[in-house]
């Protein structure tokens, strides 16, 4: 068991090393002749207008909020799903209630227009 996590740790380090080595090696051998024109923003050849980092479309944020609810749901349901075979009928009833609450939340968000792209 511990060995498995050791393996994953080492694999994580190796996965970091691959792009770092790649980018580092390319940095050593690639030409470096930057000029202002090259370093300008590429937006189809036009000069960029205004700031890029502006406050932008709250819609994405609302989706992220709805997502947070459902992602927690999946985290809660996974242990339930693993143990499901060994649990009694009450496990099914519990989850019907749990999913019912979540479905209500989804229906509420839907009704409120949180899922409408306008």
């Amino acid at each position: 068991m511990l060995n498995q996590y050791l393996f994953i740790g080492i694999l994580a380090l190796a996965s970091f090393a691959v792009p770092v080595i790649g980018i580092g090696f390319a940095w050593l051998i690639s030409p470096k002749r930057a000029n202002p024109l090259k370093r300008s923003i590429y937006e189809c050849g036009l000069e960029t207008i205004g700031e890029t980092w502006v406050q932008f479309r709250v819609q994405y944020y609302i989706y992220a909020l709805v997502f947070a609810v459902f992602d927690v749901e999946i985290a809660f349901l996974l242990p339930w799903a693993v143990a499901y075979n060994r649990l009694g009928l009450v496990a099914l009833v519990d989850v019907v209630i749990f999913l019912g609450i979540l479905a209500t939340a989804l229906a509420y968000a839907w009704r409120k227009g949180a899922l409408r792209w306008s």
Binding site: N3, Q4, Y5, F7, I8, I10, L11, A12, A14, S15, F16, V18, P19, V20, G22, I23, F25, A26, W27, I29, S30, P31, K32, A34, P36, K38, R39, S40, I41, E43, T48, T52, W53, F56, R57, Y60, Y63, A64, V66, F67, F70, D71, I74, A75, L77, L78, A81, V82, Y84, L89, L92, V95, V96, L99, L102, A103, L106, W110, W117, S118
Partner: protein, 379 residues
């Protein structure tokens, strides 16, 4: 010696040889490093093969030949591409957030490679058979979206930013139904370890037992790796190339690498969870695994040649208003079937009946309530 256990045996022999002249912990560490190296190298080779195959297959599907200049049938095209990308100048835009711009291509590769730790390549061929493998894969999937947002934001380009936002909205939205589809598999198998899930798929793979979960997972898989028809985050014709516009050379290659590894990983997950993993007659198990994964990858390429791109509102609506409710209902039906206590030979027909009823109702609702006219989407 049979072909099945050739790789574990090889590892054993090397471990014995190493421990004959090295202290035990060092030998063990070296063996782990060897496996890690094998995984990384395999993935690099897989990406090279996939880039060539994608261009070849796409070419054929579009009545072209595809690359055929470098080497016979263009087989060393990927090597030429790699060399070219390696020697390219690295351009960092003036307005970029330098740190994020540098970190994004590094971080995006990490989850792509780490997924392979838990993937069962064969009957005896899995690096770390974690008992929470499914959760591990889902968790790594969401790291990708952080890297993409970093790239989109850090480039300081408006199109990149749009691509980044789209990617995050899409990955988030499709992660939920994906998780729900995985849940019904976990429930039927009673375990989160991928090896046990593969073993639980007898006599029929889960794709034939729970077709709806399979379809949900497959669609979400296509969306998770930003492939066409869900390639909005990197739509060339609307937002140039999305989050990786401002990347050149090796940094761009890293995005490419991660994308292809992820495509391969999602195909491998589809195979492992739904198509019986490494199971198959006669041939060794790892050969079967790669055959099945190759078929799924081919379907991915095929989809790219066949379907037009969606709009962002269609994409999000499809996830939240169709796939999520469908996934929840499917989960409940799976739960009921598991608890029905029917005799063994009736389990599969019970699943079929449940899936058939949900499928018919879902299709009816889909055709009934799909708006004929949708508002013109903005971004």
């Amino acid at each position: 010696m049979d072909l099945e256990s050739i790789f574990p045996r090889l590892q054993e022999i090397i471990a014995q040889w190493l421990s004959s002249f090295l202290p035990g912990w060092l030998a063990e560490l070296l063996v782990i490093l060897m496996v890690v190296l094998a995984i990384v190298l395999m993935m690099v080779v897989v990406v090279m093969v996939l880039t060539l195959l994608e261009r070849k297959i796409l070419g054929r599907l579009q009545d072209r030949i595809g690359p055929n200049r470098v080497g016979p049938y263009g087989v060393i095209q990927p090597v030429a591409d790699t060399l070219k990308l390696l020697f390219k100048e690295d351009i960092v835009p003036e307005k970029a957030d330098k740190l994020l711009h540098l970190l994004a291509p590094i971080i995006i590769v990490v989850p792509a490679l780490m997924v392979w730790a838990v993937m069962p390549f064969g009957k005896k061929l899995v690096a770390a058979d974690l008992n929470i493998a499914v959760l591990y894969v889902i968790a790594l999937g969401s790291v990708t979206s952080i890297a993409i947002l970093m790239a989109g934001w850090g480039s300081g380009n408006k199109y990149s930013l749009l691509g980044g936002f789209r990617a995050v909205a899409q990955l988030f939205s499709y992660e939920v139904p994906m998780g729900l589809a995985v849940l019904s598999v976990v429930m039927a198998a009673g375990s989160m370890s991928l090896q046990s899930i593969v073993k639980a798929q007898s006599p029929l793979p889960f794709a034939f037992v729970q077709p709806i979960a399979f379809l949900i997972y497959f669609i979400c898989g296509v969306a998770e790796v930003n492939r066409s028809p869900f390639d909005l985050p990197e739509a060339e014709s609307e937002i140039i190339a999305g989050y990786h516009i401002e990347y050149t050379g090796v940094k761009f290659a890293m995005f490419f690498l991660a994308e292809y590894i992820n495509t391969f990983a999602v195909s491998a997950m589809v195979v492992t969870l739904f198509l019986g993993g490494w199971k198959g007659p006669i041939l060794p198990s790892y050969v079967w695994f790669f055959i099945k994964v190759a078929i799924v990858v081919y379907v991915f390429f095929w989809l790219r040649a066949s379907f037009p791109r969606l709009r962002i509102d269609q994409l999000l609506n499809f996830a939240w208003k169709f796939l999520v409710p469908l996934g929840m209902v499917n989960l409940l039906v799976t739960g009921i079937v598991v608890k029905l206590n029917v005799p063994v030979w009736l389990t599969v027909p019970a699943y079929w009946a449940g899936n058939f009823v949900i499928g018919v109702i879902a299709l009816y609702l889909l055709t009934r309530f799909t708006p004929k006219k949708t508002p013109v989407s903005l971004r």
